[in-house]
């Protein structure tokens, strides 16, 4: 390894690699030599290996412990920091997810290294681009001391495969942890994609009046994730985990369809960087029309089902 090493922290679920890993490896290839690091059991590793080498990892290191994922972040951060302090990478890339940011924050403290979160691009000089204040401002920033720790917003980088043969390493890790996970109820995953990784999102707000059926039907015909405004989650109409906005998730899919959402800054802050925005709202004055590429002034209960039927018809 050399001073051009780029560490990529790979998120996975029981060995199934998150989409962010291929995005981060694609980015890492443009910055130096990509090295994938994954934490979990030997079984997880077997599943993950081929995806990681498909996207150009020069080495894949398993921080091996059957226990390590029984703590959200501290044991992983310790093991990753130990590895980084022996290999001195130029940068460490992590997904800008809840867990990725927790690990990144801990790494910054342990390595005394600068941290930038929620980057949407990173140049070869490691200048990060961030879209802040709900997409109203673009900031370029840089780590000025130590190894650069950068978390990258999911969906910002288009993943491209570049198969490489990777060195395989495994480092046993002892997870000495004081806070423990004692039980788990995995989220019930429907067929729909995860919100932050989805290419298409269909969202509903106050205008649904609690009936998300037309939103879900449109989402399903598009293979989309379902989002909700704060008004809808506060009313208990849709689970909080689907909230898009300032106090929810920030998303930037290829296509965002907002139905019955007025578009207060609170919501726009979470979706304004979507590539294409389509709006359906009864109120022609709703502020969300200001950022729409295409808007329909109309009742979502008429427009959304008609769109669903139209897309189905096209698909034959």
């Amino acid at each position: 390894m050399s001073g051009s090493d780029i560490f990529v922290f790979v998120d996975h679920s029981n060995g199934t690699v998150a989409k962010t890993a291929s995005e981060l490896l694609t980015l890492a290839r443009s910055l130096g030599e990509p090295h994938a690091i994954i934490a979990g059991s030997a079984g997880d590793f077997e599943l993950a290996k081929s995806t990681l080498s498909d996207f150009g990892a020069k080495s894949i290191t398993l921080l091996e412990s059957s226990e390590i994922n029984n703590h959200p972040s501290s044991a992983i951060a310790r093991a990753l920091a130990d590895l980084a302090s022996t290999k001195n990478p130029r940068a460490i890339l992590l997904p800008s997810t809840a867990r990725g940011k927790e690990i990144a924050g801990r790494l910054a403290v342990r390595l005394e290294a600068g941290i930038i979160t929620d980057a949407i691009a990173l140049s070869s000089e490691l200048v990060a681009t961030q879209s802040v204040f709900g997409g109203s401002t673009v900031v370029h920033s840089q780590v000025t001391k130590g190894c650069a720790i950068v978390t990258i917003r999911p969906n910002s980088i288009e993943a491209a495969p570049a198969p490489a043969s990777a060195d395989i390493n495994s480092i046993p890790v002892s997870a000495s942890i004081t806070a423990k996970i004692t039980a788990r109820e995995p989220a019930v995953r429907g067929a729909r994609p995860e919100l932050s990784e989805a290419n298409i999102i269909v969202s509903g707000g106050r205008g649904t009046d609690g009936n998300f059926a037309p939103i879900e039907e449109l989402a399903d015909v598009l293979g989309a994730a379902v989002g909700a405004s704060r008004a809808a989650t506060d009313a208990g109409w849709y689970p909080h985990s689907h909230q898009v906005g300032q106090t929810g998730k920030t998303v930037s899919p290829q296509l965002y369809i907002a139905c019955g959402i007025s578009g207060a800054i609170q919501h726009r802050a979470g979706m304004q960087t979507s590539k294409t925005i389509v709006v359906v709202n009864k109120d022609p004055e709703a502020p969300i029309f200001d950022i729409a590429d295409f808007g329909v002034v109309g009742d979502l209960f008429a427009v959304a089902p008609q769109a669903t039927a139209g897309i189905k018809a096209r698909k034959g």
């Binding site: 809840a98 941290i115 900031v139 089902p305």
Partner: protein, 265 residues
């Protein structure tokens, strides 16, 4: 039991935000409020005290904030909700501090207080980095129960149980005290300060701490002591409003046409 709640004053999350020519957040252009997400942490502290015998049982809640003079207003809000007292780390040299410095300063202040429980919100609605609680956990070497949607404190056993709620599902967590707990906004409904609470808050003490009190040199903090720097910034090109049609019975059809034109279906 001594509970410490970290809070921050931020521009109102419903207001437009911008940067100043000095490349820092313009804190003057919008109303400054107690960070929305911190209100849940203050509320949860109040509920934990109430569930364990109240102030009569010797439990106290201290608020901690780092910020300019006016951050006192945010502390006053938390005090009017019912916290007992507050610490305000204030020093001109701190302006422009990054997350590493902020977590260091907060950690130094926390060490002086030696609380049994530290509560925070998930992030501030201005910087939105969401890294301070994990950084505090590293600096103080305390367990971190993150994304808590439920918290139960056993004062006698000195243990905390929480439900960690994320996209992956719900995880039951357990930790000895002291610990850091980050609460999500679904955990409770923060109370509005009562008139009595607002009056009482005026008499509560806000102690000021300087860098010298914390044993930190001014050269190590602020913009010059930061590990990262903003090179430049620009307003994003405004999204031009696109096509707007009124549903005449074929609104859904027009929507599909648009998607097809853009090759999105």
């Amino acid at each position: 039991m001594k509970i410490l709640v970290c809070v921050k004053q931020v521009p109102d999350s419903w207001a437009e935000k911008k940067l100043t020519p000095a490349k820092v957040l313009d804190r003057e252009s919008a109303d400054a409020v107690l960070n929305d997400l911190d209100e849940y942490a203050v509320e949860e502290a109040l509920r934990i005290v109430e569930a364990n015998g109240g102030a009569e049982a010797g439990h106290t809640i201290t608020l901690l904030s780092m910020g300019p003079e006016r951050a006192q207003e945010a502390l006053r809000k938390g005090l009017s909700m019912g916290a007992d007292n507050a610490l305000h780390v204030k020093d001109d040299a701190l302006a422009g501090s990054d997350a590493l410095t902020t977590s260091r300063i907060l950690a130094e202040a926390i060490k002086r207080e030696n609380p049994d429980l530290i509560l925070t919100g998930t992030e501030s609605t201005d910087a939105r980095m969401s890294v301070i609680p994990a950084m505090l956990s590293e600096r103080l070497d305390l367990p971190h129960l993150s994304f808590a949607g439920e918290v139960h404190v056993d004062v006698n056993a000195r243990t905390i149980k929480s439900k960690r709620m994320t996209d992956e599902g719900v995880e039951a967590m357990e930790s000895p005290m002291p610990a850091i707990v980050t609460v999500i906004e679904k955990i409770n409904e923060p109370r509005y300060p009562s008139f009595k609470g607002i009056m009482a808050a005026k008499k509560k003490s806000i102690s000021e701490l300087s860098l010298a009190d914390l044993g930190v040199a001014p050269s190590e903090v602020g913009s010059s002591g930061a590990w990262s720097a903003v090179n430049d910034f620009a307003l994003a090109p405004a999204r031009g409003a696109g096509v707007k049609v009124t549903d005449d019975g074929n609104g859904g059809g027009a929507l599909v046409e648009f998607l097809a034109e853009k090759r999105l279906i």
